[in-house]
């Protein structure tokens, strides 16, 4: 029986290559890999065609699925090499680490040992790049190389751990001490099973701690009495981009694409890397000759020697390529060469979380794109499948996974941006307690939201959500929550009514909305009932102006409420207690909607020369944004003209800004229309005072000083 330790760098290309060589040469009968033991359940999928790295083994706390830890594996991960080798060759395979059931019970399950320690060691040994250093130590992966690596790391651990012997101290790093104890336990077990040759593949830092397998009792003590939680495990696809981030192994890789190139091509990596660049440049339409590639390699080699590196790394190669080939083309294809968007594949059903599997099925059935980069999608809801796809996307949106709705202008069209990757899958894992398929999970999630106290507008949004996501069971409760919004102001009620009326009129794309329409009608009525009292509050004017628009929209959409709306308008227009701007607006709306209201009488009452401010506000309400009232009711000019003449100079100056505001807001065509009506005498104005020739001449001279001589009769 022989146990051989293989200290590797997680995500280390050189380690992976050397490991493959070593496994082929030594042919172990059992392989132990640093990975969560629970994930052994996932091994059935390895070797099938449906699993392709980069992937991650995700473990989560079933009670709190948002507490999860991913163990990512790329094609160039030594762990992946080891497990595929073992599966292929039929050797025994065990995962050794602190079980996730214990680890996720800890306050912080993240590893305390980092690759930084390895990097620091490398720098001490005079290497800038720890990857290069480890590659140099391992060499081609023969026994000597692995022995050199073991000794280097043992020296470092002895130096750090000192008197404890080579093992993590339970006081300083309790998690690492327990992880190493658990790893030793698994190795002991495998030894007991009587395998002849046992390969143990672990992060380099841990290797020396697994050499001495005595002290069984101490390890058992370390591992007893730990809290535990129930965990679930599943494969999820991972991306190269995410490999940059530290994850379960506490090790990231800066340049995944480069590392992959290294793992695949070994000694030829620099040539192949430059080849990737030239291929991408040619695809981009930039001539990139072999001679240019050779120049870039030469330059990179010179650069490496200037930087005292044994051979060019990815930075030297990239810099050389950028110098040799046109800079803008290089910048344009950089993302393609560094290929950070590569994403792995996992079995659609497999051991995945039920919700996740259901979501993947839905996405596939509805032919929705599942790509890690944002994909825009336009749905025409007049098609039946589009409605189904839209519901699916709304469900995903409610679960916080991957779908973003963009602004859209047309009612029957929805614009979406889809993004599907590990984060989205994790979001679904976190949502897995809500249900086993998208509809039930989204419904449950939304129902839970309904329990919160929220302003009326949010409650209306819940109804929209329920309708759009096709969750009929939630529509009723959401409507109840809308109606239960106590103490809402008139303007809120009207806006909410308009929102629900909108929802009710989705009719032609979604199912029956009668219930929603009924609630919208009730909201509209209570809003209108509350209007007169709110309309007396000068502070609420601006909100109310918007609310009036909303109320009108609701009344039009609902059709059943037209009479109520007209009566409310009439009351606002004639009630003297309503604040003047609102009353003016109500008068105009009455004219526009052809409601039978005596606007002329209202104008006569409102245009009081003794209350210039109130009168000006009324005019502002009447005219602002639309000249309909003055165009359709020319009679209104009379009280307006009379009022204006009756104003003293001081009052006139006071109201001028408000009047200017009102008329300046009209579109140019409306202003022309009014001016033409005035010029042609279509509107009857009151008596005009005769022009004072002397004063007019003064004004004329002043104007002519600016404009040059004016034509027409000279007053004089």
């Amino acid at each position: 029986m022989t146990v051989r330790l293989f200290p590797v760098r997680h995500c280390g290309a050189a380690s992976a290559r050397a490991l493959r060589t070593a496994l082929d040469a030594w042919s172990p009968t059992a392989v132990v890999i640093e990975a969560p033991p629970e994930a052994e359940a996932l091994l059935l999928d390895v070797g099938g065609g449906e699993l392709a790295p980069p992937v991650a083994m995700l473990a989560w706390d079933r009670a709190q699925p948002e507490r999860s830890l991913a163990t990512p594996l790329a094609a160039f991960s030594p762990e992946w090499v080891a497990l595929s080798w073992a599966v292929r060759s039929g050797a025994g395979l065990r995962f050794a680490d602190l079980p996730m059931s214990r680890r996720l019970a800890l306050a912080s399950p993240l590893s305390e040992a980092r690759d930084d320690q390895l990097a620091a060691l490398g720098r001490e040994a005079g290497w800038v790049d720890p990857a290069e250093w480890w590659a140099e130590l391992l060499g081609t992966g023969d026994d000597d190389g692995w022995e050199r690596a073991r000794q280097a790391i043992r020296r470092a651990r002895v130096h750090q751990d000192g008197p404890h012997g080579v093992r993590a101290s339970p006081e300083d790093s309790p998690l690492e001490a327990r992880r190493e104890a658990a790893m030793r336990q698994v190795v002991r077990e495998v030894v007991r099973q009587g395998h002849a040759r046992i390969a143990v593949v672990v992060g380099a830092w841990h290797a020396p701690a697994l050499e001495d397998l005595s002290a069984v009792g101490e390890d058992r003590r370390l591992l007893t009495g730990l809290d535990r939680v129930r965990v679930g495990v599943a494969w999820i696809p991972w991306t190269h981009d995410l490999l940059r981030v530290d994850a379960g192994y506490g090790a990231g890789v800066d340049e995944p694409a480069w590392t992959a190139c290294w793992a695949e091509h070994g000694e030829e990596r620099d040539v192949r890397w430059v080849g990737r660049w030239t291929a991408a440049l040619r695809e981009h339409g930039t001539p990139a000759s072999a001679a240019g590639a050779a120049d870039a390699l030469w330059l990179a080699t010179q650069l490496a020697s200037l930087r005292e590196l044994a051979r060019p790394g990815v930075e030297e190669l990239d810099e050389a390529v950028a110098a040799v080939f046109p800079a803008d083309a290089v910048a344009a294809v950089r993302a393609r060469v560094h290929g950070s968007e590569a994403m792995g594949r996992v079995p659609v059903d497999g051991a995945a979380v039920p919700l996740l599997a259901a979501a993947r099925r839905d996405l596939r059935r509805l032919r929705l794109p599942t790509e890690p980069r944002p994909v825009p999608l336009e749905l025409d809801l007049r098609q039946v499948t589009a409605v189904e796809r839209s519901s699916c996307l709304h469900r995903l949106r409610l679960l916080g996974a991957g779908a973003r709705r963009d602004e859209d202008e047309v009612r029957y069209r929805e614009n979406w941006t889809l993004r599907w990757g590990p984060q989205q899958e994790r979001a679904l894992v976190a949502s897995s307690p809500w249900g086993t398929d998208l509809a039930s999970a989204a419904a449950m999630r939304l129902s839970r939201q309904l329990e919160r106290d929220a302003p009326l507008a949010v409650r209306v949004a819940w109804v929209h959500d329920a309708l759009l996501a096709g969750l009929p069971s939630v529509v009723g409760p959401a409507l109840q929550r809308v109606e239960a919004a106590a103490g809402a102001r008139a303007d809120e009620l009207l806006v909410a009514a308009a929102g629900l009326a909108d929802a009710a009129s989705y009719g032609f794309v979604r199912a029956d909305r009668a219930e929603v329409g009924a609630v919208a009608g009730r909201l509209l009525r209570s809003g209108l009932a509350a209007l007169p009292s709110t309309a007396r509050d000068p502070a609420a004017v601006v909100l109310l102006l918007q609310a009036l628009d909303a109320g009108r929209r609701a009344a039009r959409l609902l059709t059943t409420e037209q009479v109520v709306w007209e009566r409310a308008l009439e009351r606002l227009a004639v009630d003297p207690a309503v604040s003047p701007r609102i009353a003016g607006r109500a008068a105009r709306m009455a004219v526009e909607d052809e409601v039978d209201v005596d606007v002329f009488a209202a104008a006569q009452r409102r245009l009081d020369p003794n209350q210039p401010d109130a009168a000006a506000a009324w005019i502002e309400g009447l005219v602002e944004g639309s000249a309909t009232a003055l165009v359709h009711r020319p009679a209104l000019w009379q009280p307006l003209d009379r009022w204006l003449h009756a104003l003293g100079p001081a009052s006139f100056e006071r109201v001028l800004p408000a009047l200017h505001r009102a008329f300046a807001s009209l579109p140019p065509t409306a202003r022309d229309q009014l001016a033409a009506a005035l010029a042609q005498g279509e509107v009857a104005l009151g008596e005009r005072a005769p022009v004072d020739g002397e004063r007019a001449a003064v004004v004329r001279r002043g104007v002519e000083a600016w404009t040059g001589p004016l034509g027409g009769p000279s007053a004089g």
Partner: protein, 351 residues
């Protein structure tokens, strides 16, 4: 007799001597090791305590690419905005690598092919007929024969057909002289450093064939005020022939600040300002400071302040009437409001 301006190898003779003593492999024809060239450009300290002043302040990685290029088959093209130190870097690279920075061709619209290859001494040509003694070698040919570094300033100002003369020279590394039936062939160590201005883009854009014979290194404008101030003061000290400590740092800092704000088109506080169309490069700032310094020394009481610098700033930043308006706005709105009354007034007086 004292020369108005020393060449890089003269001015830095001590540094170069110290660096030449460093051990290590040199590419064929090089006076220094590539690492020593790097130290010469970006600064450092030798084992014997010789301090090497930095010639280029900025990202050393760019200089490394430039040096590495010169050890390969490709020529080096330094690109950048005006005043980012392209010529300065080019001169010092040549001085460090071949010990001679004077093999220079200045690119202008009137430069002809003979300035790049060879011409004739017509008196001799008439008297003796075509002979080796009658050939006048261009600086490029001299560099080829001696295995040195040649320099071309403002490569894109050369007419396109003259640029084409470089194609054969750079790929064949030899220039035939058919009249003599011979050729000048490059010795090991020969290479070429060209500079070109990003503002001149499109003047006589390099053909793609010629572009392929160069590796391009772009020198950016200094990205922070401290670096730029450092560059300005170091250069001013060498121009004025005084130590850096003797220079008035405060007005220089203020001037660099103004230059950076106007160049960026917004103030340090993020408020937008109109950018004048005139020169606002680091080199321009050095020029303005040098001029102000000289005036203060010879015509004033030696004190350097806004009054001495405003003239130069206006002269270099304002090309058009519009620019003058822009500067006036800047003086009245930004400087006055920020309480920099002296600058505000000095500028307004001159606009």
């Amino acid at each position: 007799m004292s020369h108005l301006r020393l060449t890089a190898e003269e001015a830095c003779a001590d540094e170069l001597e110290g660096l030449a003593a460093l051990p290590g492999a040199r590419p064929p024809g090089w006076q220094l090791t590539p690492r020593a060239v790097r130290t010469f450009l970006v600064g450092g300290e030798l084992a014997d305590g010789t301090v090497i002043a930095p010639k280029y302040i900025g990202d050393p990685r760019r200089i490394e690419v430039a040096i590495a290029t010169l050890a390969t088959d490709r020529a080096l093209l330094l690109q950048g905005e005006p005043g980012t130190g392209k010529s300065w870097v080019s001169e010092h690279l040549a001085a460090a690598i071949s010990g001679d920075s004077t093999l220079l061709v200045q690119g202008t619209a009137g430069t002809d092919e003979s300035s790049l290859t060879y011409g004739w001494n017509y008196a001799r040509l008439l008297a003796e007929g075509p002979s080796a003694a009658a050939v006048v070698h261009s600086p490029l040919l001299v560099a080829m024969r001696t295995g040195g570094i040649a320099r071309i300033e403002e490569l894109t100002r050369l007419p396109s057909e003259v640029q084409d003369a470089l194609l054969g020279l750079l790929s064949e590394k030899s220039v035939p002289i058919p009249e003599l039936g011979s050729a000048v062939r490059a010795e090991a160590g020969f290479n070429l450093i060209a500079t070109s201005n990003l503002r001149d883009r499109g003047v006589n854009e390099l053909s793609s064939a010629l572009r392929r014979r160069f590796a391009v290194v772009e020198l950016p404008a200094p990205d922070n005020a401290a670096d730029e101030l450092h560059i300005v003061l170091t250069r001013l000290a060498s121009l004025a022939g005084v130590p850096v400590d003797a220079l008035p740092a405060e007005p220089a800092r203020a001037l660099v600040g103004l230059f950076r704000e106007l160049r960026a088109g917004q103030t340090a506080q993020g408020r937008p300002v109109r950018r004048p169309s005139g020169g606002l490069s680091t080199a321009d700032a050095i020029g303005v400071l040098h001029q102000g310094w000289t005036r203060a020394q010879f015509y004033g009481d030696g004190a350097l302040g806004p009054a001495q610098l405003a003239d130069g700033l206006v002269a270099c930043a304002a090309r058009t009437e519009d620019d003058r308006h822009a500067l006036r706005e800047y003086a009245e709105l930004v400087l006055a409001e920020r309480g920099e009354a002296a600058w505000s007034e000095a500028l307004r007086d001159r606009l």
